[in-house]
């Protein structure tokens, strides 16, 4: 009974993902019919259609799926470790830390727009973002460490660190020219603008490895979610495992941020919905969370591109406009 429900959820999720992907490939300033999209995949499209799909829309959609999976899994892990359904990489400064390093890197090294960065520079960005977010996690960890880590203190410290980093980012932003500013603004608020296959080649292997690693050890997460005493009782060396998962989850969030900017609340929505569908087992919940997040992000990105066309809205803003009411609903409902 339980098992079949999970299978149905996975199936529905896959169907929804395919649907949103096809819709996302169809709409834009150059409209296509579903038949044309499928025809282009089968090799029948004209050069215009092939260019639109393979060079513009497909990399963007694929990147959205990759980024969303990373954030969905990262949020799920963070919620298990902190035992708080509201913790999320965007809220506690992990994304902001990554964004800060990238903003400084972009504004220090070059005056070019994000899309015109050389491939070698683009390759550096995930590494830099990981450094930024790990440094942020280290700062949060140090400040909240007092005879061990308490989840609540960890989150509150994160909220404070987030506010501080945001202030520093705004300092960099205000010193830019207006054109650069708009560019960086869309980026710090999360955007998939300017996606290309480069970014996919760089991020996909890293994220796959990290997610498999987390899934491989997901039993430990199940135990951690039960509480400190129980976890220690069954022989989990608590502080070490917590640290291990914190690092993995911030790496995931960092890689996502490095290519897509600071998308908040996605790491909250995905795991919450997945938990409702799949139950507490992390081996089942985390992949579903990745899928749900992907559906949300692809849909949000389609909306971000087309809602006020030709002006593009940062996708992160669409996600938070959807995410915050849900977040408040969870808070009001929770005990």
């Amino acid at each position: 009974m339980k098992k079949s429900k999970y299978k149905i959820a996975v199936l529905v999720c896959i169907v929804l993902l395919l649907l949103t992907v096809i819709i996302s490939l169809m709409v834009g300033s150059y409209q296509m019919t579903p038949g044309e999209v499928i025809g282009t995949f089968l090799g029948n499209g004209d050069s215009m259609q092939r260019f639109t799909i393979y060079e513009l829309r497909l990399p963007r959609v694929v990147l959205a799926v990759i980024v969303a999976s990373a954030l969905g899994v990262s949020g799920g892990v963070l919620q298990a470790v902190t035992r708080n359904p509201l913790s999320e990489p965007g809220m506690i400064g992990i994304n902001a830390g990554a964004a800060l390093f990238v903003v400084v890197w972009i504004s220090a090294g070059t005056s070019a727009y994000y899309s015109e960065l050389a491939a070698s520079k683009a390759f550096f960005m995930p590494l830099l973002a990981i450094m930024g977010s790990l440094l942020t996690v280290a700062v949060i960890y140090l400040f909240s460490y007092k005879r061990g880590i308490r989840p609540v203190r960890f989150i509150l410290t994160g909220v404070g660190v987030n506010a501080g980093i945001t202030a520093v980012i705004s300092f960099y932003q205000l010193n830019m020219s207006k054109g650069d500013y708009n560019q960086v603004l869309t980026w710090t608020n999360g955007s998939l603008w300017g996606s290309s296959w480069h970014y996919i080649i760089i991020t996909l292997p890293l994220i796959l490895v990290l997610i498999f690693f987390i899934l491989f050890r997901s039993k430990v997460l199940d135990v951690l979610a039960l509480g400190d005493e129980l976890a220690m009782g069954v022989g989990v060396s608590l502080q070490r495992e917590v640290l291990f998962f914190l690092i993995l989850s911030s790496c995931l969030a960092a890689i996502a941020t490095s290519v897509a900017g600071n998308i908040a609340f996605l790491g909250l929505l995905g795991p919450q919905i997945a938990k409702r569908l799949a139950g507490p087992s992390h081996r089942k919940m985390l992949p579903l969370s990745a899928g749900v997040s992907a559906v949300i992000l692809v849909a949000a990105d389609t909306a971000a591109r087309n809602l006020f066309s030709p002006i593009e809205i940062p996708v992160g803003i669409i996600v938070s406009i959807v995410g915050v009411p849900y977040f408040i609903y969870i808070m009001l409902k929770g005990k």
Binding site: L156, V159, A167, L174, L185, P314, G316, I328, M331, K335
Partner: protein, 327 residues
């Protein structure tokens, strides 16, 4: 604890006086002290006189009033919510006002200084009301982490919507200045608004300080002493909303002043809100006048957002408070 309020008042007044003089003195054009006296008391219309009367003085007055009011509203929120990190910007009240102001500056809905003020009032009322409802819905929601997370979520939400409005109106960088706060646009109209609206509600707020004292002891204690906690909380929030609205309309979204100023005063002079609130007002003014001087001069001729300086002090204090907290 020995009552040091007289010493603190004297020291604060002195600091404020020095700060105001310095704020008029320092700038793109340095004005000598003798000219300051001349400009303030024997206006003759020379260049220095005009600079003092029309540019430096209104700006300084705005900084004094806004700083004091923000610090005092922070003090009140901390007392009423019994939450050491409560503060209007942390809880999203000022961000609601920011959203409303950004909508009004992009659209033709309600333009001008008066329009901005009324929009800010509406925004602050909505977000303040949401926080009030949230804390009153159940006792569990008064825990520090929950209020804080709700506030952070609300502010993200309001700022996201504000960003959409600004992007569509091609005003996003101006919005960023608004979000980071500053006294670039401060003139006599803003000062008058701050003085009239903010001032009258501040006096009203000060009259509540005795009751806030009791609330800060706990709801049961307050009820036992004959004060209805819900009523006082509602009155306090009703005072805070218009004060925050004028501050945002005049100076944008300046964070953290209401967080760290009361805590420093608390450390020095104890927890009596009847003294804590006026002293916070005084030292909030001092801090913002000094921060405004720094914002104007460090990267002159560019102006830095004033929120950067308040965050520099505010974030460490915030982290320290969270670390100290037991629950």
């Amino acid at each position: 604890m020995k009552d040091k309020s007289w010493i603190l008042t004297a020291a604060g007044t002195l600091l404020l006086f020095v700060g105001i003089i310095a704020s008029i003195h320092i700038g793109a054009k340095k004005i000598p002290l003798s000219d300051i006296y001349h400009g303030l008391f024997h206006y003759e219309g020379t260049l220095h006189d005009q600079l003092i009367r029309n540019v430096r003085l209104p700006r300084t007055v705005c900084a004094v009033l806004a700083g004091g009011m923000l610090a005092m509203t922070g003090t009140m929120m901390q007392g009423v919510l019994r939450n050491p990190v409560a503060e209007p910007t942390v809880l999203g009240v000022t961000q609601g006002a920011t959203l409303a102001v950004s909508i009004s500056s992009v659209s033709a809905l309600a333009g001008g200084v008066y329009g901005n003020f009324f929009m800010a009032l509406a925004g602050a009322a909505i977000s303040g009301g949401m926080i009030l409802l949230f804390t009153m819905k159940s006792a569990a929601n008064q825990s520090i982490s929950r209020i804080l997370l709700a506030g952070t979520a609300l502010s993200t939400f309001f700022l996201s919507l504000a960003t959409v409005a600004a992007l569509l109106g091609n005003r996003s960088q101006e919005l960023a200045f608004w979000v980071a706060g500053g006294f670039r646009q401060a003139g006599w109209i803003q000062a008058a608004f701050l003085f009239a609206v903010g001032g009258s509600f501040s006096i009203l707020a000060l009259s509540l300080s005795g009751k806030i004292n009791l609330i800060s002891l706990g709801d049961e204690a307050a009820t036992g002493l004959g004060v209805a906690p819900e009523k006082v909380k509602r009155k306090t929030v009703l005072c805070i909303i218009p004060i925050c609205a004028v501050c945002v309309a005049a100076a944008g979204n300046i964070g953290f002043v209401g967080l760290f100023v009361p805590h420093i005063i608390r450390k020095l002079n104890g927890n009596d809100y009847r003294k804590l609130m006026p002293l916070s007002f005084l030292y909030g003014s001092v801090i913002l006048v000094l921060a405004d001087i720094a914002a104007r001069t460090i990267l002159a001729p560019y102006e830095l957002p004033i929120g950067l300086f308040t965050a520099c002090i505010g974030v460490p204090v915030f982290l320290w408070l969270v670390r100290k907290e037991k629950k």
